[in-house]
Amino acid sequence: MSLMQRSSPHVMGRNTTSRIMLWVIVAALPGLLALSYFYGWGYLINTVICVVSAVLAEAAILMLRKRPVLKTLKDASAVLTGVLLGVTLPPFAPWWIMVIASGFAMVFVKHLYGGLGQNLFNPAMAAFALVLISFPLPMTTSWSTPEAISGEPLPSFSQQLSHNLEWQAYDGITMATPLDHYKTKIKRLTADELAQTPEYVAGPFYGILWVNLAFLLGGLLLLFLKIISWHGPVGLFTGLLVLALPFSADADSAMPVLMHLFAGATVFGAFFIVTDPASSATSNRGKFIFGFGVGILTYCIRTWGNFPDAIAFAVLLMNISAPFIDHYTRPRTYGKPKPVSGYKLPEESP
């Protein structure tokens, strides 16, 4: 374009895409470490496998698309997707699930839609949904149990590694995710009875609470660095609470509000998934509505659905609605009496 002459502004800020990605990765580390501390080496091993396969998959599709490989890889977005997948997938799941998920995220969800910034869906969540519906068995039974609950030590690094690489299966104790577990149990037991079961003696949600707090810490870091805005996360919490508060009044049949907030992927989803800029809404109001929708859907799918956690499906459903939300949530521009909303220009506009 001939228009691309040198013109104002002549100075640029020091921000770069890769810096943003790297900070998000850094912000996810406390959560990853907390997961590894309570649930064993599986998460770290998974993350490494996911990152490597995501980077390789991106390199391959870039070559196929005849795009610069190294320059694109440098933006670290593939690494980020790998890390997000690593902390989402079950720690005892076999290696090929990681590879399939990462490859699908990179090739189908990201690059078939045009690459970085063009994807309609959140790559990590779409890939999670893919492996969850494709391999229901390993995806629901490969969750690890903290030592304080099972009474058995977590597998050593080499045991975990050979299990995940399918060299030698480790015969450890796995259980459903805390959310899933509580959901099934509360149908038969009262809340008091449930608190007496071995899984809950160590506390209502031992381990997972700290994991959520660690993700919260990372999220606050991102807010502080102004890499994300508060609208999405607050929207998600609001949406979730709007349903969870009234419905959890009966403690003997519903999950407590605190479990909704801190026993699943809620905090992770709020700060690391809902805030994914490419697949979320654009304006601040839009981001809030996007998060709110994710919150509502998450509650519904968790409570009345069959899946262990609902963030992924809720996010995917809201991803589809994001362009629509955008059209109705344009901010009011300076000097305009009201925001331009919808798909048509208002009559009186010039």
Binding site: F108, L130, I133, S134, F135, P136, L137, P138
Partner: protein, 247 residues
């Protein structure tokens, strides 16, 4: 005021070869016209399902094309659609009865999709778009080729989805070919845990998308080759004026 004439449209003067090419590749009902997607995506989970539906559709398509072509000069325009649907419905019922008789289990698996052939856009589309204006022979060729084109894609999808979804090929062929076919099942990946995504409809969408992309790639290459051949030829004295095409 309209001076549009209501005389039947003139017969399209395709040589037979063109009809064949159209059905199998250039105007493939599944890859290009994107018709009949519902059965295409719903029953292409295994090869045997795909084959069953493919053959049924092929037979109905041939029958309806020939029948429509036969009556093309004797049916009033205003009532042609009901007539065509009647014809298609009769052939579909016939196919359904034949299947019940000879491949009852497969018939049960394919279920509603056999009667639904009536509403398959390909069949009505060919009746309305081709057989209504062409001779019986040409309609026969068109029906056959379109049917084979559709069945081919159905089979391809079946192969892809069966291999990826279940790790086998030709499982359950006995449903169609009797007990002799029990041994046809070919386990490609032993101890395969199912890849449900490929078995479920979303997998069909993705696989079809990839097939369409593949066809486009082949067409593009072909075009480039032709273009190159044209470019390589010495410049002709005749100047060709091209207007109204900016790509």
């Amino acid at each position: 005021m309209s001076i549009e004439s209501h005389s039947p449209a003139p017969a399209v003067q395709n040589p037979t070869q063109d009809i064949i090419k159209d059905g199998l590749w250039r105007n493939n009902p599944a890859l290009v016209q994107l018709l009949g997607l519902c059965p295409l995506l719903a029953v292409s989970g295994t090869v045997v399902n795909a084959l069953g539906l493919g053959i049924a559709t092929l037979l109905v398509l041939i029958g309806s094309n020939v029948a429509v072509s036969l009556i093309r000069n004797h049916v009033q325009d205003t009532v042609r659609l009901p007539a065509f649907v009647m014809i298609i419905a009769s052939f579909t019922t016939t196919a359904e009865l034949i299947m019940q008789a000879y491949a009852f289990e497969l018939y049960q698996i394919l279920g509603i999709f056999i009667p639904l052939i009536v509403t398959n856009c390909i069949i009505l589309g060919r009746a309305e778009g081709f057989a209504r204006k062409n001779t019986v022979w040409r309609s026969l060729v068109d029906g056959t080729m379109m049917g084979i084109g559709f069945m081919g894609i159905l089979l391809l999808l079946g192969i892809i989805r069966e291999v990826i979804g279940q790790g086998t090929l030709f499982a359950g062929m006995e449903l169609m070919f009797g007990p002799a076919a029990v041994n046809w099942k070919w386990v490609i990946i032993p101890d395969y845990s199912q890849f449900l995504f490929a078995v479920l409809p979303p997998g069909a969408f993705v696989a079809l998308g990839l097939l369409i992309a593949g066809k486009n790639v082949i067409d593009d290459r072909q075009k480039q080759r032709v273009q190159k051949a044209v470019d390589d030829q010495p410049a002709l004295s005749r100047r060709v004026r091209v207007t109204g095409h900016i790509h």
